[in-house]
Symmetry: C2
Subunit: 157 residues, 2 copies
């Protein structure tokens, strides 16, 4: 396996997500299939808007609300993650494996950061009294390579 192994091939990921859609009692429509296919192959953590625009190519006429609602349904079903790590639009991540994120303060881009060891996270659970910890996330804040080369940009998608 590669150094940073994709947990699954694109096809396998699509198949597993589609299976998850049905397993969750959600209906499998042409739109949802296209959305899942598009998201599964996207490692850029796209916003709903970005995914929508890419989707228009393969599914002309699809509604933005449908994309939005479907992404919400997918994340609610635990089939993808909805990330709100920076101001502006939420970003969606098809990778449900354990990993962290690096967020660019300049452009809002989100990059994956592989987990080195699951141990430290589990060990440090706890949080405030009465607070039930579901997950511990590590966020790397900084400036991405592109923005470093080209200073001063908006922090939006």
């Amino acid at each position: 396996m590669p150094v940073r192994p994709s947990p699954e091939s694109h096809e396998a990921l699509v198949a597993r997500m589609l299976a998850g859609v049905r397993a969750s009692g959600l209906k499998l429509t042409r739109q949802r299939e296209a959305i899942v296919h598009e998201l599964a192959g996207d490692e850029t953590h796209p916003t709903a808007q970005a995914l929508f625009e890419r989707l228009l190519v393969r599914l002309p006429g699809v509604s933005f609300a449908t994309v939005y609602n479907t992404l919400d349904a997918l994340s609610s079903a635990g089939l993808c993650a909805s990330l709100s790590l920076a101001p502006g639009a939420a970003r969606f991540d098809p990778n449900m494996g354990a990993h962290h994120h690096a967020v660019c303060d300049e452009c809002g881009t989100v990059l994956d950061v592989p987990t080195r060891d699951g141990a430290s996270e589990r060990a440090s659970a706890g949080g405030p009294p009465g607070f039930t910890v579901r997950a511990i996330e590590r966020v790397y804040r900084g400036v991405c390579a592109a923005c470093r080369a080209r200073p001063r940009r908006s922090a939006r998608s």
Copy 2:
């Protein structure tokens, strides 16, 4: 003294923030003084809206835009933190010391989590190639005590 000692007294924090305002070349207006005073005494990580409403009591007629712009100026000057850890409104934190946050998935509430050791964070720097890490943040995701007692709520402020 309280169980969880504030690093500084309210008054000291206010004084340091006001000094910072002037040191940053920002003008010290009645509105800004009130905003700083209000924020410095608030450990609930209020949204701009929440702070604005509380502020209306002591400074009737203050404009929401002013509160908003001032919070932006303060965080840009490094005098407070602007947190975007959940969907919805940004939250503001007067505590600039090293600490982490616990975010309730149900109601969006943000709680402070003291840092146990600064070592682990620094050691794990790095992030994606070409990415300049400025800070590493740990976010505890879960459900707060209040929401645990009263299930099913909106995730907004």
